[in-house]
Subunit: 218 residues, 2 copies
Amino acid sequence: MAAAGINKNIEIWIIEDNVSYRRTLLGLIERTKGMSCSQVFSSCEEAINKFEDADAPEIILLDIGLPGMSGIQGIEKFKTLSPQTHILILTVYDDNDNVFEALCAGASGYLLKDSSPEKIIESIKEVLAGGAPMNMKIAHKVLEIFTRFKPKKNDYGLTEREKEILQQMVAGLTKQQIAEKLFLSFHTVNTHLKNIYNKLHVNTRSGAVSKVYKENLL
Amino acid sequence: MAAAGINKNIEIWIIEDNVSYRRTLLGLIERTKGMSCSQVFSSCEEAINKFEDADAPEIILLDIGLPGMSGIQGIEKFKTLSPQTHILILTVYDDNDNVFEALCAGASGYLLKDSSPEKIIESIKEVLAGGAPMNMKIAHKVLEIFTRFKPKKNDYGLTEREKEILQQMVAGLTKQQIAEKLFLSFHTVNTHLKNIYNKLHVNTRSGAVSKVYKENLL
DNA sequence: AACCAAATACCACGAACGCGTGATTGATAC
DNA sequence: GTATCAATCACGCGTTCGTGGTATTTGGTT
C-alpha cells in the first residue's frame, strides 16, 4: 500500500480558488517528504482540461465553493475520468447537503479548512491507505444522516388522535383550521396540542414539527 | 455535560461477553485518569435491568456479538432508556450490515476490537466532544454505503442569512430568541421571516419547517 | 456613478398561540 | 365498582405571530 511512497512521490493536484489558501496548501505539500503537487487549479474546468495531457494524480484536494462548476459536480466528473483517483474535500462548507452530496458522489474524505496542516497530511496518507478521513464534526453529521434512514418508532406515547392532529399541524394548518377539518371544537384541538407538547417536550409548533421529521414520528 | 470531565470521572459501562477482553477493557478504563467504569455486563439484558436502580452512564462500550439480545437491538433499547448516553461499538464485525444497522440505530461511534488502547481512550473523548470516531476501515465502509444513495436538491433562492434564521426556527426558537441568538433586532428577524415565507410560499412556522424537511433545504 | 440585492431596523394591529385550570363522557383495567 | 385514561369541550390571560408598511446601510455589478 505504501509502495508509492518508496520510489516516487505521491502525486497531488489542488483545486482551490482562494489564492492564499491554495498557496498554503501547495507549500504544505511541497515541503512534505514523499508528496508532490504538480498541478494547481482555481476551477474544476481547468483541471478537467489537464486530464487529457497529464497523468491522473493519486489525490485531488478539492474545494467545494468554486467559480463555475462546483466541487460536487467536479467529483462526479473526475471519478468518470479517473476512477482510481481519490478525492479529498477541503472546504468551509459543513452543511448536511454538501457533505451528503460529496460523499454520495464518491469523495474519499471530507475535511474542513480549519484542519491543521498535520491533519491534512495525515488524511492524505489515510486516504491512500484505504481510509476515509473526516473531521469530528463531519463524522457526526454523517451519523446524523444515517439515523434518518432508520425510521424510529419512538411514539412518545402519542395517541392516534394526537398523531392525527400533529399531521395537520405539520401540514401548516392553524388550530382553528385543524378543528374545522377534523370536525372538532377549537378547544379540543387546543387541549390535544397541549398534550402533544408535553409528550414531545417542546413548546412551539416549529419544535413539534421539527421533532416529527427528525425522529420520524407519524 | 462537557463539564463532567472536570469535576468527576466519565462514567462508562462495558457490555462484552468475552471475559478476557472485558477484563482488558476494564483495566484500560480504570487506569485512565478521568474515566471510571462502574458497571460491566456480559449481556444487554443485564445492563437494561441496571438502568432502573443506577444512573445512566455517559458512555457504553458495546459489543455486537452477544448472547441473547444483540448489540444492535441493545442500542435501540438504551437510546430509549437514556437518549443522552453515547454508545460506542467495539466489535469484531465489520460487515456492511452490522455497521449500517448500528449507526442507524444511533451508535455514536464504531471501533473494531483490534483498535489500540490509546485509540479507544481517544475515541471515548471524541464521542464526548460530539464526534463520531470510526476505524479507517469502517469510515471507508460508511462512504461506500453513502455512494448507494443519490437524492435531489432544492433551493428557493434563500439567502445565507435567511437559511441561518430558518435553522433557528426549525430548532423551535421564537423570533425574539432568534434575534438574541444571532445578535439581531427583533424587527430584522421579523423581516427575514417575511421574506422566507414569501420565498417558500408558506404562511406559518409549521409550514416552513415542514418544507425544510420535506424538500431537504438547509 | 448608478444600481441592486441583501441585511439591517422600526411601527402597529388583529389573529393566533401557549398555558393554566377546569369539566364531562365513555371505554378499559384492576 | 372504582380507578384510569383518551377524547371531548370550555374560558381567560398574556405572549407571540403574520402582515401591512417604511427606511437606512452595505457590498457587489454594471
